[in-house]
């Protein structure tokens, strides 16, 4: 049902989603331009995941109204790597693609896992599993990449490496990205624009213009962070 979105990859107008008559998304508007990296911050229960699931088309039984235009080719990265444990790494990457083994291999090489095609997911570390999940998403060359706290379950060091990898991959593939996270620093480091969701509405928005590589030591970084934390209702 992708209407003509013109220059936008994602166009959301007046989106409402309810669980048991309690609005989780309450008249939300959101635009994402092609190739734009948007990070979505918000407290637990602010509607982050609901929005992401609505964009992914995974909210079958949820009541709601509003306009939603997303491209046909959307990939999702979940918090867990969600690899099929009974399928080898390469088969997981090309799941549902038919004859795409060569593309799958290239994709695995891109995330630094060349040579692990025949491994079982259980044999990989958490970070490696999440890299396979990234390869599975990007081998489909999505116009929109939806990521639901993809690094939330990783240790801090692995997470830093994954940030660098994700930046590199996004530069190469140029998908529009919506990254749901509750890590303010992660949002600032990765995104072109950070939006803050509260009670189903966007309550703050920051366009990040810091030069790469972005560092928390940068005074501009600290200023953005404190404004975002304010919007999240965290006083520091």
């Amino acid at each position: 049902m992708a209407t003509n979105v013109g220059l936008l990859t994602v166009q959301v107008r007046d989106l409402v989603r309810r669980y048991d008559d309690r609005p989780v998304l309450d008249g939300l508007d959101l635009d994402i331009a092609p190739g734009e990296f948007v990070a979505l911050l918000g407290k637990s229960g602010s509607g982050k995941s609901t929005l992401l699931r609505a964009l992914a088309g995974l909210d079958h039984d949820v009541e709601g109204t509003g306009e939603l235009a997303v491209p046909a080719n959307v990939s999702v990265v979940f918090q867990d790597s969600r690899l099929l444990p009974w399928a080898r790494v390469l088969d997981n990457v090309v799941l549902g693609l038919g004859a795409a083994d060569d593309r799958g291999r290239e994709s695995l090489a891109e995330v630094g896992l060349a040579g692990r095609e025949k491994a079982w997911p259980n044999e990989l570390s958490g970070g490696e599993q999440q890299r396979v999940a990234l390869a599975r998403s990007l081998v489909r060359e999505p116009e929109l990449l939806l990521a639901d706290e993809p690094f939330g379950a990783l240790d801090a060091l692995t997470r830093l490496k994954m940030h660098a990898l994700l930046r590199k991959l996004c530069a190469a593939h140029q998908p529009a990205v919506l990254l749901v996270t509750h890590d303010v620093d992660e949002a600032i480091v990765l995104a072109d624009r950070v939006i803050v969701l509260d009670a189903g509405r966007i309550v703050a928005e920051e366009t990040i213009t810091l030069a790469a590589p972005r560092s928390a030591a940068d005074p501009g970084f600290a200023a953005v962070r404190s404004r975002l934390l304010d919007a999240l209702g965290v006083s520091v």
Binding site: F78, R82, G96
Partner: protein, 278 residues
């Protein structure tokens, strides 16, 4: 850091003897421990037979059983009866597996299928297959079809129950994944449902194999003219306990062998799981 001792901390006595705690578990395993019981039984049986303490009419001596087995093999009776029995069991097993898997898929993948099928199968499960024998004999006579259907009925239930359970307990997150990567219904069944239900299916298969032998024993003793059970039943009328024991040994070996085969298949098919244990 500092050489001064903190107040309240005394240097540990290095000479105090280590207190050995009494071990509460059963201790280290005995080598070939699982053979001790059977060997002991065999010894008692042999001594009993040799001393005449066990009457030959009640239980033949082990060596008589061995020579009888030799005779039965020499004149081909054991092989032909064994072949007949194996055929019945395998045909019943194969049909039961197909039926169980197909029903489990229908009932697991569609709510309507579940509503229609699951109830009757649960009722069937509550009725021992062997209790259906009188009806089956009336309907199908005492020929091969009655025997195979009885085995089939004993087999399909555990296959259905465990496959269906395996299928229903597939993590919903994988279903969600299948949706996001746009799997077709057929690919969803092939790549997610069947492999996900495989551990359940293989568990069901182990029960099914045991069940198939059990049903076989019973149906072969009803108006059969061939098979291991028939051979034993015939021996009963002549009081040949040696032949009966040969039959029992054959059933035992078949049961053990088939379980070993299923376990081997299980190890091969679930190698993605074994990597966790190894």
């Amino acid at each position: 850091m500092s050489a001064t001792t903190l107040p309240g901390l005394r240097p540990r006595a290095t000479t105090s003897p280590v207190v050995r705690r009494r071990r509460l578990g059963p201790g280290t395993p005995i080598r070939f421990g699982s053979a001790i019981g059977p060997v002991l039984l065999l010894v008692i049986w042999s001594i009993g037979s040799a001393t005449g303490w066990i009457d030959q009419r009640v239980l033949s001596a082990p060596w008589t059983v061995v020579t009888t087995a030799g005779d039965l093999i020499a004149d081909g009776r054991l092989q032909s009866n064994l072949w007949t029995s194996a055929q019945r069991a395998l045909i019943g097993l194969a049909l039961g597996i197909v039926l169980g898997v197909v029903l489990a898929l229908i009932s697991g993948l569609s709510r309507l299928g579940e509503a229609v099928l699951d109830g009757p199968i649960q009722i069937k499960r509550a009725i021992p297959s062997l209790a259906l024998l009188p009806l089956l004999i009336l309907w199908l006579g005492i020929g091969e079809s009655m025997k195979i259907v009885t085995i089939l009925l004993g087999v399909f239930v555990p296959i259905y129950i465990h496959t269906h359970n395996g299928l229903r307990t597939i993590d919903s997150r994988y279903v969600e994944l299948a949706q996001t990567v746009g799997l077709s219904q057929w690919d969803f069944v092939r790549r997610v449902v069947l492999p996900g239900a495989l551990p359940g299916f293989l568990l069901g298969l182990r029960f099914a194999v045991t069940g198939a032998w059990l049903s076989l024993v019973v149906v072969e003793q009803i108006n059969s003219t061939s098979g291991i059970g028939y051979m034993m039943e015939l021996a009963r009328t002549y009081g040949q306990t040696d032949i009966i024991i040969v039959g029992l040994v054959v059933y035992g070996v078949l049961g053990l062998l088939s379980d070993a085969v299923v376990r081997l298949v299980q190890r091969r098919a679930l190698s993605w799981r074994r990597t966790l244990a190894s």
